[in-house]
Symmetry: C3
């Protein structure tokens, strides 16, 4: 009554799709000892591993006086609030109150978020816990199907809305215009209108073309490095924000399972409406055992993204000043078919979720 709410700039004005899995962290982000803090869809989360190594995630906010638990300390698998020492177990239940007679209020519970550790990532469920289902994590087992040195993971913090990152990967035509020599298609990609297919929660796109020589990541490994090669990109977006991408090259005119290829996972998690956690993993089916090649590979891809995509995407966010893409009347072209279908599918899923939650 006497006080009005002081609405802050970071408060969400965006409706996110919530009853689904997002990546919260790389497995390597969360060690055996420390409390790892991350903001996900405007909610602060603390993640740590129990003594048996299982990751757990709690709302990073004591229900008493709202101190971040990540500033507190661990006692075995339990967290002690830094302010008044309420102790919580890894389900979020308060199990010790040092004050007064030690009565534990019924409401002294911290929200716990279900986690699954898979494919080198820790996946989190931020929505309705009654709907949690591990099987809703897409099958990315191919990522970790080879030698450990054939796969690399990395993370970037990006100052744009997560959908701009989805757009970027769903419209691979940008490669020839934004990126350098290493993955150039020599202009062959842009003219192609990809085949786009759809399921209830995914959109796929496929481009096939011939170029001479092949992309630099493949050419030296092909039978005739200087000669023409047949290539494809295959991408599958799965709601809310996971994109599996395969790129391959052959010289025999026929694609098959043993093609020289690279299998990537791009997945994003909204931090706020205008900032995003970007996770990326890449696995190749060649030079698989070379650890230093693997390190170089993931570093180069990280650097290419940071130097070439990020400045552009952050400039677009600044220019848009909103996260509502369609309200700005974008001039859409053939290369927007896949990303626009993704944006519409996501809106559809958010509408469904909103209706379900109101029912």
């Amino acid at each position: 009554m006497n006080k009005m709410i002081f609405k802050t700039y970071t408060q969400s004005e965006h409706v996110f799709f919530k009853d689904c899995w997002y990546v919260a962290a790389l497995s390597t982000d969360v060690d055996a000892f420390n409390l790892f803090k991350r903001k996900i869809m405007n909610i602060n989360v603390v993640i740590y591993r129990t003594e048996d190594g299982k990751p757990v995630a709690l709302h990073d906010r004591c229900p008493h006086r709202f101190a971040p638990l990540s500033l507190g300390r661990r006692e075995g698998d339990q967290l002690v609030c830094p302010y008044h020492a309420l102790k919580f177990d890894c389900t979020g239940q308060c199990i010790h109150n040092p004050h007064g007679k030690g009565h534990i209020p019924t409401a002294a519970i911290v929200q716990a978020f279900p986690l699954v550790e898979r494919y080198g990532f820790i996946w989190i469920w931020m929505g309705n816990t009654e709907k949690v289902d591990e099987n809703l994590i897409p099958d990315y087992s191919e990522l970790v199907s080879g030698h450990p040195n054939s796969v690399g993971h990395t993370y970037m913090h990006v100052k744009c809305n997560f959908e701009l990152l989805t757009d970027n990967v769903m419209d691979l035509s940008h490669i020839d215009h934004v990126h350098g020599e290493i993955i150039t298609t020599r202009g062959k990609l842009s003219p192609i209108i990809p085949q786009v297919t759809e399921t209830h929660n995914s959109i796929s796109a496929r481009w096939e073309w011939e170029q001479q020589p092949a992309m630099m990541i493949f050419a030296p490994l092909l039978p005739d490095p200087q000669e023409s090669a047949q290539q494809y990109f295959n991408i599958i977006w799965t709601a809310p924000s996971h994109i599996q991408l395969t790129v391959a090259a052959v010289q025999n005119g026929e694609f098959g399972v043993d093609d020289l290829n690279q299998y990537d996972l791009h997945t994003t998690t909204p931090e706020t409406d205008t900032t995003t956690h970007y996770f990326f993993a890449t696995r190749r089916n060649h030079i698989e055992e070379d650890a230093s090649f693997n390190v170089m590979k993931i570093q180069n891809m990280h650097r290419a993204f940071e130097d070439e995509d990020v400045p552009l995407l952050e400039a677009v966010q600044t220019e848009m000043e909103t996260t509502d893409f369609f309200s700005l009347d974008p001039v859409l072209m053939s290369n927007d078919i896949a990303p626009v279908r993704v944006r519409k599918k996501l809106l559809e899923l958010i509408n469904q979720e909103t209706q379900q939650n109101q029912a």
Copy 2:
């Protein structure tokens, strides 16, 4: 009509209790020569001393074109605006206009704020000047009743709402969890439910307990330093934001006026809704004449607060994103009795004031 007001982030959305005294500055903040600028409840104030040493406070804003007078210059007891040289006396009345025929517009008056200098602080009245009454400053004379070297004053700027600071002192149970060895009660404080009493504008709380040995600030001065001691905390909050705290230790089982004790004053002044001027003074009735001990004492207390309380309180503010504590449904416990009564009393007083001012 053509222009809309450009509402800024710092504008107040908070109703403050105004017809009362706040501390504007330490006496030592305002010297004989300079203009001291401080924002209080979102209003910029310039404070200076007249040639006879009396502090005066004016709205730091020329009524002509809104230049800060604190960027101007003094002429004796008068202030000259830095922009067009309007001159104001220390009541805020414009007494010289160098422009045109020198006519002084009736409205050329800067608001003056009543000040009282007492107990090493400069107290300011930001509200209705018809209600000003020096007697409404609580009696903290004990603070300055001893040797000059027995008392120290300090100031901190804190990025949280002032009520979080009040909560912090009114719930002393945090001492064992937030602070180090020097004032630990060895866990004895938290289990105690303090006695809480109330007047029309104050809330008091008292804790008594036994610990072995006594707090480190007292133990070496007691008859048997290693032995058990009886201790108490007595705190009195007086509206809007002044907290007098006494802590004492004895070994004879009976508290009296000559106990080994320390008498502190914690008082806060809102700068904005989410930033606060925190003033603190401490007086001890032992080792009273030692100047270097006095310096060390106030420095240590300043540092403990900055290192231990401030990071936590600022993190709580960030997490709350609002100043309306109750809207967040805090889980309240026995240690919240005193601070919650303070918050409710303050709301009551603000309601009264709002009704009086509307009447």
Copy 3:
């Protein structure tokens, strides 16, 4: 529906006068090769020179996915978007789309802003292009009528609303209070109520006085440097924000065309509601051919403004927290006659423009 617009802090809440010329840049800001980016009235603009040296200005935002064209590259007189390589000619028409079949969508047009290069400035028309008329640029040919070394231009970015800068020049009485010895009138200016005259889109003011010695910029060049001189200031504001100022000194009691004088142009362009591009040029009719004197002269004037006016104007902006001057009930005086007539004239013109655009 699912997403709300995320309104940012920089979004305009201010109605600007738009069907008129503003200065976009100094001629020297835009070279033969680079893309020059500038925000004008909250709109990002990219300015560059075609191969024949003519400056052009486009909205710095690709209509496809809103990437800033200023991050792209030139191909002759054309701009290539950095993101997906749409190519635009210097009228803003998309002339190449590398995607799909190369179809160019009808809406693939970037807004072009008319430019005129004159008097060492590049002037821009941000409003209704049907009304563009080069003759609406005031005649400032006197600025460039002498030896090239008799005129200097400079630019400053200032964190206040542009009307505070207009006020500052229109009320020259501030000179004696804000500035140093070099242009002091020795207090003679403030008591004078200037003659103010008006046309449909301009306000002029003139001050005449006698001082001894003359301003330091003139005294050494007068017949009797130590003696009294007759001086005048003549200023003409032309909507929206151009102020021509002449200052002169004589010792024969009669002003004429050959007086020792200085002819300045102060002109501002809103960047946002609370930040401004300030452009300034000065031409003298003495020591005309001395290049190093010219450099020293413009540097000194730049420095005086940055050191003396800017801190004050930015402090006023901070204190006002709004751009709506009259809503703050300023206490107005005789020295405000000219600036207040300017503010009212501008409001009148904005009202007219709003009505025309609604008709």
